[in-house]
């Protein structure tokens, strides 16, 4: 199989999804659940792990059937596979974690149309091996979980004054800006987080460029000096 890019090791693949191509903060995919369920850390984590579960299964299955499915009908086939897995997940949550099932509400069946899942199926699993697709799914799923838990942590902490996880209180503050747990707060928090990340990235790139510029300048200077020395040598020889 011809590969355009160099094959990543499993570790690199996972880190890629977690940081470099983080679906929430860098690729900006799957925004509906990101904004909709992140009112509390528990919900954010639950949604993230649900997507991780679905993504691992769909990426593996789609990678498995990628050579059997004719390319004209691949998207409908992928959607049916995804819908099946999501329905399975709905049953599982309804049976074992009914509180999470209730709080995720409509966003649980909507995982079917989450851009991350169909996006990874189409962009990655449809022309990579099962092994690679599995680790891609783990990376992307963990990246999504990280994004959701960061956002929900900030919103819950500042919006309600404390963060609860599995019945334990992790943090407690005396002030609460309930605005942040409302819909408007979701947009604001996510906008600020992405903005800050972009600013940091731009700064880093600038610094890198500055260093590169100095290096290039030094190299050019060296080259010029070399040429001058060569010229002087030649002149000396001519004389």
């Amino acid at each position: 199989m011809a590969k355009k890019k160099k094959r990543l090791t499993p570790k690199q693949n996972v880190i890629k999804g977690l940081i470099k191509e983080n679906p929430t903060f860098v690729l900006i995919l799957g925004m509906c659940p990101t904004l909709g369920v992140t009112t509390s850390l528990e919900n954010g984590l639950g949604m993230g792990l649900s997507v991780l579960f679905v993504l691992i299964l769909t990426n593996t299955i789609i990678s498995l059937i990628r050579n059997i499915v004719p390319s004209e009908i691949r998207i409908p086939v992928y959607i049916v596979v995804i819908a099946l897995i999501v329905t399975m997940l709905e049953w599982l949550l309804q049976a074992y974690i009914p509180s999470l099932y209730a709080s995720l509400g409509i966003f649980l069946p909507l995982i079917v149309v989450n851009c991350i899942i169909l996006g990874r199926a189409e962009a990655y699993a449809s022309d990579n091996t099962i092994f690679d697709s599995l680790f891609d799914a783990i990376g992307m799923g963990l990246g999504f979980t990280l994004g959701l838990s960061t956002l929900s942590f900030v919103r819950e902490l500042l919006g309600t004054g404390s963060v609860q996880l599995l019945g334990f209180t992790l943090f407690e503050a005396n002030v609460a800006a309930s605005f942040l747990v409302q819909p408007a707060g979701a947009f604001l928090t996510l906008g600020l987080i992405i903005g800050i990340i972009n600013t940091i990235k731009a700064d880093k790139a600038k610094k890198k460029k500055a260093i590169m510029d100095i290096k290039i300048a030094a190299a050019l200077k060296k080259k010029a000096e070399k040429a001058a020395a060569l010229k002087a040598k030649e002149e000396l020889a001519n004389v």
């Binding site: 900006i28 995919l29 799957g30 925004m31 509906c32 659940p33 990101t34 904004l35 909709g36 409908p76 959607i79 049916v80 819908a83 099946l84 999501v86 329905t87 709905e90 049953w91 509400g105 409509i106 069946p109 909507l110 079917v112 149309v113 989450n114 851009c115 169909l118 409302q182 819909p183 408007a184 707060g185 979701a186 947009f187 604001l188 996510l190 906008g191 600020l192 992405i194 903005g195 800050i196 990340i197 972009n198 600013t199 940091i200 990235k201 731009a202």
Partner: protein
């Protein structure tokens, strides 16, 4: 009748699909940077949501529920939406090439727009009757269209504003959406 009117107002303004239900955010951020794009997408979404809302309601109550297979709704609904989009695309192409020119590009994208599947599922979740479903689907999608068009005007103006480099594009768009969501909260007092 007044119930339906209240429902129309609620779904259009108070419970706006984008600003308070968070459905269809991807397309909201994706196509709202140009006025013409926003209008095309808004209209396409309006047609698809209204039609698929009605069709999925009929399928749920006439086929799935009598058959005792309501657990299949997610799979069936997504297939219905995909089929609706295909049929609508063919119909518009045949009957109105002019309209197809402006809507055509957006139709395939709508299958994975969570607003469509979301409205279909909400109709069932809220135990709506058929007339309520029609009103809810139509006004919810009109709310989507209105917000996406208003927002495209705001974003066109934002292009001229001196925004810090890191906040250009999506981040500043999200912050503007936050202010808009606050404004829409003011409509709660209307009912």
């Amino acid at each position: 009748m007044s119930d339906l009117l209240t429902l129309a107002f609620t779904s259009f303004l108070v419970q706006n699909i984008i600003l308070s239900q968070f459905l269809g955010i991807c397309s909201f951020l994706g196509v709202s940077n140009k006025r013409s794009k926003a209008l095309g997408m808004g209209l396409a979404v309006f047609f698809v949501i209204t039609l698929s809302g009605i069709v999925t309601w009929l399928i749920y109550y006439k086929i799935l529920e009598p058959g005792g297979i309501t657990f299949m709704r997610t799979i069936v609904f997504i297939l219905v939406v995909a089929a609706m989009v295909q049929i609508l695309e063919m119909a518009i192409k045949k009957f109105s090439p002019l309209l197809y020119g402006s809507l055509g590009v957006y139709l395939p994208l709508i299958t994975t727009n969570c607003a469509v599947l979301g409205v279909a599922l909400l109709n069932i979740q809220n135990n709506f009757t058929l007339s309520e479903t029609v009103v809810f689907s139509a006004f919810t999608s009109l709310g989507y269209t209105a917000v996406i068009i208003i927002f495209s005007y705001i974003r066109e103006q934002m292009l001229k504003a001196p925004i810090p480099e890191g906040f250009k594009g999506i981040p500043s768009g999200l912050i503007a959406a936050s202010i808009m969501a606050l404004l829409f909260k003011g409509f709660v007092g209307l009912i």
